[in-house]
Each structure stands twice: as C-alpha cells, then as structure tokens.
C-alpha cells in the first residue's frame, strides 16, 4: 500500500515497522511531527520529555532494558543531548537505539545553522541521511539493523526540506521485535574510568569495522552515466536537487554521512573527469575526501550558508539564471491577534527595560513596533543571561528575563536555581500560555495532558518556583496590561529574585467565536499601534479593527488613553 506522507510521518512509520516500543522527544521545528505521528500508532509508547537530554536518556534506558527505542529533536536540541550521546557511544545498546536530528539550513525556524554531521564524527556514532519520505522510512529500519549488528546508537539526520516534504511511501507491517532480556553488565553500562577506557577501545574497533562495512551498503551508491563528465558527490535533499538540475550527471549518493564510504568514493573519483561535492552548510564531505587524498571541488563553488537549490546548481553548470524578483515590502511573522505576550512586551518597552529573551513565539517581541527583546541565544538562556547582566553591573542593570512555560521547564528552571543560589535579584517573567506555541501546540509537564492525549499530572509553575527558593512571586492576567505594569515595577524594584507568571492560554487554542473590539471617537493618537496587533490598522478617521482576526482580548482597550476602543456588546 502507498500513502502520501510527510517525511517526519514516514520516520514515525519506519520506527513503527521496525518494532520500536519507546519514543521520547522534545518539540522543535523541523522535527516535531515524528513524535506526534508515532503517538498515533497502535501498541507503542511516545512521550514529550521536558528537554532533549532527558529524551535521549529515556531512549537509552529503554534500549538498555531491551527495547528498540528512538529519540527525536532539532539540531540545537542535539547540543542539549550531546552529553548522553557521547557516552552512549561507549556503552552501546541493548535493543536498537536511533536518535533523529533535524537540521535547518536556511534557518526557516532556528537561531543558527549548525551542521549536525560533525556530532556523528565526533561521537563516533554512525549517521544515515535519507533524501525523501520513502527513503526515510527505509533508512530507519536499516538504522535499527546497524544499531544491533554493531552495538551502537545510530543517528539519522534530516534537513528541513526533507523533514517537511511529502512523498509516496510504501507501507509494510510492523515487525514483532521481542524485548531483549536485560542482563547486568556494568563493564558495558557503568562508564567510570576503568570501564570507559576499555569501551573506548571497543568504539575504535567498531568505527573501523563500520568504515569498511559502509562501502558495500546499497544506500551508498554510484549512478554512472558518462565517464568523460564530472562526478557529483551528494546526499540528502541535495541529491534530489542534483537529479533535477543535472539528470544525466554521474552521481555518488551518500547514505551514510558517518562513516563516509571512503573506498567507494575513491573508486568513483577514478571513474569521472573530476569530482564536485555539493553539500549544504559545512564542507563536511569535502574535507574528509581531501584528507583521504581525493581531489575535489566543493565550497569553492557553493556557499556554506543557507540552502542549496535546483537553480543554484543549474547556474553553476550554465543551465539557467535566476529571474529577477519584484521588490516588495517584507511580510515578517508577527504575534497573532489576541496573543497574550503582546501586552507584556508593550509594558517592557514602555518601561524601557533591557529584556533577556528566549526561544519561542515570544522571540517576536524583538520585532517592531514592540521592539522589546534585547537578547535571544538558546533555550533557557534568558534566565542565566539576566543573572550575568546583574553580576556584571553589580546589580545596577535595568533588565528582566522573559521565558515561555515550555522553555522554562526545558532549561530555564536551572537558571532560576542559579539566580536564587547566587543571589542576583533578577526579575523573571514566565509567559505561561499553557502550551508549546511556536512548534504548533504540544503538551508539556505543566499542561495536564501528555503526548498520547491522556490526562497527566501537572507541574505547578508557581510551586516549582517557590521550591527553587523564590519568595517574591506574583501571578497576573497577561491581558491586564495595568496589572502587568504594576507587577513588573514591583518586581524590578525588589532586591531579591522575583518571578511574575503572566497567564493566558495561547489565543490559537480557543477557536470559539468571541465578541470583537469596536472603535468610537478615535483620535488617531497611535498608542494602540505600538502593540503591533495585526487586527488593528490606521484608517482616515481613526484606527480600524479587522473583525476576522480580532479575538476581543481588550489589550488595545487597556492601552487606549481615550477609551476609544471597547468590546462590541453582545446581542
């Protein structure tokens, strides 16, 4: 049977067909749909972990206990999970263990463009790289075979254009994979120096064995056409672009990003006129080939920034040039109408505070006209950076940290513990919208539901903060701009660590019809325009409300100095 599937769904399907029992993940574009789709399948367990490190540890535990297991994350999530990754490379596995990582060349929804292939090389963990949905499903199954054959975790790397494309996938049945019996083996699973020293030897032997083995794997293959022409070396999405742009080219398609099939590549290089490596991001393949003595071109022809495209390849080979695009105003993403973050950023901007921001929809608080956010580095960084600001200025800095509920639980809470312990007196605002917003509304430990859709125990954010030692804690309605302002003023005046929890569910969660705002006697003073609400625009006789977008949150009415905005009375 064939089905048109998102690659992430195909990876979930591959895990299902491979008999995976346990999947743990933290949402992150472009990886989120793997866990969401796996959770819908019968007879499996899937969960959202609070962060990627926990997700990988859960998967390791399930593997050592004897099950086939999977953890999924975006590229920056693998940084968080790097600690267990480097050591599970030493312990090896019980049941097969696969970690899926989704890179984002072009940064469609990310803060950097890191190339996760280096993790595979650095941790000595094999990495497979599929190029479309059907391959992704098959590669997952190959990954579990490799994992158990070579006693190693296996990474699968995808990029945005692979993860978020659909293609036809051949469906097969789920393999019945027995839970292996757990046997105590401290020399394998207790990585203290005496054991780890011995395991490092095993890792190197395994690496050598894999380096030889991959040369004969069918997922590393030559497609030879004309020996007098150039040969292209590529993998992943780029393979598909090459086939499109240069249908008659000699191609070496790499399926194992680590170890690279170096003997096979060497053989390919002797069969073609010259070798050109086309790869997104870093010269990972190119450098390795040059180190192995294979002459090739690569980043002298293609940028290491952004995505490769069919057109970029055609341009290099003289087949086409880019038509000129119209110059039109940008349409950047904005906070939705009714977004509960809007009023908070309005207040922070008004009070001229320095804002240490974090990762989520609320990073959009950096965009005009709110222009409130000063910094954004990584998940949880707002809290630690706010603390650093205070320490650098001897407490004089006029800054606050702003973080979402899901991000706070991911890695903000450790920063808060540090701020209490090391007494910086920061103000932390938790924007609690009861969901993981940017990635499309995933549950987390404070929402009361789990990934399987069942009710779950709730981690109470206020109690958690108190348990961390926070004494000054306020809870406000995020729509009540005046209350938010009062709370922020009190918190920033306080010398001790203060936490404000600004509560309101994400406006997109409640789809019911609500009364809209109306405008009467507007003087066009422009104050509400500083909110950057997409439902408000300037008209000739005052502002206009777009009723199709307005959610009636009343934040605009709360900031209007003349009472010109009000809710339409019902009936």
């Amino acid at each position: 049977m064939k089905e048109l599937m998102l690659t992430n769904q195909a990876i979930a399907r591959g895990a299902y067909e491979a008999g995976v029992r346990v999947l743990s993940a933290y949402p992150g574009t472009p990886s989120t749909e793997i866990a969401e789709n796996f959770a819908k399948l019968d007879g499996v367990y899937a969960e959202w972990a609070p962060n990627e490190k926990v997700a990988v540890e859960v998967a390791i535990g399930a593997s050592v206990a004897g099950a086939r297991a999977m953890a999924c994350m975006k590229h920056v999530g693998l940084n968080v999970a790097a600690d267990p990754l480097f050591t599970v490379a030493y312990t090896g596995v019980g049941g097969g263990l696969v970690i899926v990582v989704a890179d984002d060349p072009g940064m469609h929804s990310s803060q950097n463009e890191q190339d996760s292939r280096y993790y595979a090389r650095s941790a000595h963990v094999p990495m497979l790289e599929p190029s479309d949905a059907n391959e992704a499903k098959e590669f997952v199954k190959i990954a579990y075979e490799l994992s158990e054959k070579f006693d190693t975790p296996v990474l699968i790397r995808e990029t945005t254009r692979v993860a978020h494309s659909h293609g036809f996938v051949d469906l097969q049945d789920r393999a019945e994979v027995e839970l292996k019996k757990y046997e105590k083996a401290p020399q394998k699973y207790v990585m203290m120096p005496a054991n780890a020293i011995k395991r490092h030897v095993v890792v190197e032997e395994r690496d050598n064995a894999l380096s030889a083995y991959v040369n004969d794997m069918a997922i590393n293959r030559e497609e030879l056409t004309d020996k007098n022409e150039v040969g292209i070396v590529c993998s992943g999405a780029v393979y598909q672009y090459v086939k499109e742009a240069l249908p008659n080219a000699n191609v070496f398609k790499i399926g194992t990003a680590y170890p690279l099939p170096m003997s096979a590549l060497k053989a390919f290089s002797t069969k073609v006129k010259e070798v050109i490596v086309i790869e997104e991001l870093e010269p990972y393949i190119e450098d390795a080939m040059k180190a192995a003595g294979i002459a090739c071109h690569g980043k002298d022809l293609f940028s290491l920034q952004g995505e490769i495209s069919v057109l970029k390849i055609m341009e290099k080979f003289g087949g086409a040039s880019a038509p000129e695009a119209e110059k039109v105003p940008a349409r950047p993403p904005v906070m939705c109408a009714g977004c509960p973050h809007r009023g908070v950023f309005y207040v922070l901007n008004k009070l001229k505070l320095t804002v240490n921001g974090d990762i989520g929809c609320y990073t959009l608080g950096a965009v005009p006209p709110l222009s409130a956010v000063d910094t954004c580095v990584c998940m949880g960084a707002s809290v630690g950076m706010a603390h650093g600001f205070k320490k650098a200025t001897d407490g004089a800095s006029n800054n606050v940290a702003v973080i979402g509920d899901s991000t706070f639980l991911h890695s903000g809470v450790t920063g808060l513990i540090n701020a209490v312990y090391n007494e910086s007196g920061i103000t932390l605002i938790i924007l609690d919208n009861s969901t993981t917003g940017m990635t499309g509304h995933q549950q987390h430990p404070a929402t009361g539901k789990n990934l399987m859709g069942a009710p779950a125990p709730v981690v109470l954010l206020d109690e958690l903060c108190k348990a961390c030692g926070v004494k000054d804690l306020q809870i406000v309605d995020a729509y009540d701009v005046k209350a938010v302002e009062k709370a922020v003023k009190a918190a920033t005046a306080s010398k001790e660590v203060s936490v404000i929890i600004a509560q309101r569910p994400c406006a997109l969660l409640d789809k019911s019809s609500k009364p809209k705002m109306q405008v009467q006697n507007c003087r066009n003073c422009g104050v509400c325009m500083r909110l950057g609400c997409p439902a408000i625009s300037v008209g000739e006789n005052g502002v206009k409300i777009d009723a199709s977008q307005c959610t009636g949150c009343e934040v605009c009415a709360n900031v209007c100095p003349f009472g010109a905005l009000s809710l339409v009375k019902e009936g």
Binding site: E244, V334, C361
Partner: protein, 189 residues
C-alpha cells in the same frame, strides 16, 4: 510534469490546498512531492508551499523560473513569488490585499499598483475574488478551495477527481461548503 507554487499569508490554508493537490496526484496515479515550511514563518508571515506532480519527481522544491502556475492567496504575495513562473506560466491571484506589519506600522508602503504590475509582468494573470466567493459558499476559510476550483478550470484538471481529492482532505461536516466553494472558483475564473 506540473509544478504548482502556492503562496499566501500564514493561516490562509495553503497547506491544505497543497494536500488536496497531492491527493489529486495520487488518484491520478502520478508521482508527487510537496514541500512546506512549518514553524515561525506561519505566524502571519509569508508562506510558500510547493506541489510537484509528474511521472517521477525528485526535488520537492520548485525553483525560480520553474513553476507552471503560481497560486497566490494575496496580491503582494503574488508579486513576491511571480518570478518563480516559467515564461508562459499562469498566475492565479486571490484579489485581496492584506497589509503586512511593516505597512501597518508605516515602515513600508503597500505597493499601490500591484495588480497592474502583475498583469504587465505575467501575460497569463487571472484575478479572482476568492475570499468573497468563499464567504458566499459559507466561510471565508474556504478561500483555498475556491482557488483550487479556479485552478481546475484553468488547467482542465479532471473535475470529478479534484472533488474527490477535496472530499478526502476536508472534514465531513464542511464538505458541502467546500464543494460549493470549489464550484464558485470553477465558474468565476
């Protein structure tokens, strides 16, 4: 081989439109790949989805100068993506203007003559009041299906198969509304 680029504003239903076309390809026994972007850009920003239908499809992404048709759910987004068209490509535009934030705040101006410029640039440009038609059919949210009705007419797609594809992709309780929207798009282009 047919390459369809769908451009719109986050929240306008471009993803559903691409999935209907994917289903259409499947019902016709063709190969198909779709590409879309999730995440940050969906929050009211420009969104583009790619649909490629043919005997054997490699790249899921259409390149500049490679689209047979650009379906734009908004005029400015049509201007932003018109260069994706092949020289004889068709531009199908929902005749609606949605201000982007830089235009709302006054940092930029919405181009005044965007429709004229589009018609000058692309010989085969069709405007359709799809939002209006969708409201007529029962909901402005069916604008995407109106556009597919228009596409079906312009490219002489198999109408019955397209309707089956719509049926497969929309919730049953909104099926009649969407089929009405589809018919309006088919009639009015």
């Amino acid at each position: 081989m047919m390459n369809v680029l769908i451009a719109g504003v986050g929240g306008q239903g471009t993803l559903l439109a691409s999935r209907v076309l994917g289903k259409y390809a499947m019902l016709c026994g063709k190969d198909c790949k779709l590409s879309e972007i999730h995440g940050m850009s969906q929050r009211g920003g420009s969104v583009v989805t790619h649909v490629r239908i043919g005997e054997k499809i490699h790249s899921p992404v259409i390149w500049e100068g490679g689209a047979d048709v650009v379906i734009a759910f908004e005029a400015l987004e049509a201007a932003r993506t018109a260069h994706y068209l092949k020289p004889e490509g068709i531009l199908l535009v929902n005749d609606e203007e949605i201000l982007p934030m830089p235009c709302i705040t006054g940092a930029a101006e919405y181009p005044k003559n965007v429709k004229e410029r589009l018609s000058l640039r692309v010989k085969h440009t069709h405007f359709i009041k799809a939002q209006e038609a969708a409201v007529e059919a029962g909901s402005g949210k069916a604008t995407n299906i109106v556009m597919l009705g228009a596409l079906c007419k312009l490219f002489a797609f198999d109408k019955d198969v397209m309707k089956r594809a719509v049926e497969a992709c929309v919730p049953a309780k909104f099926l009649q509304l969407n089929l009405a929207a589809f018919e309006l798009g088919y009639e009015r282009v």
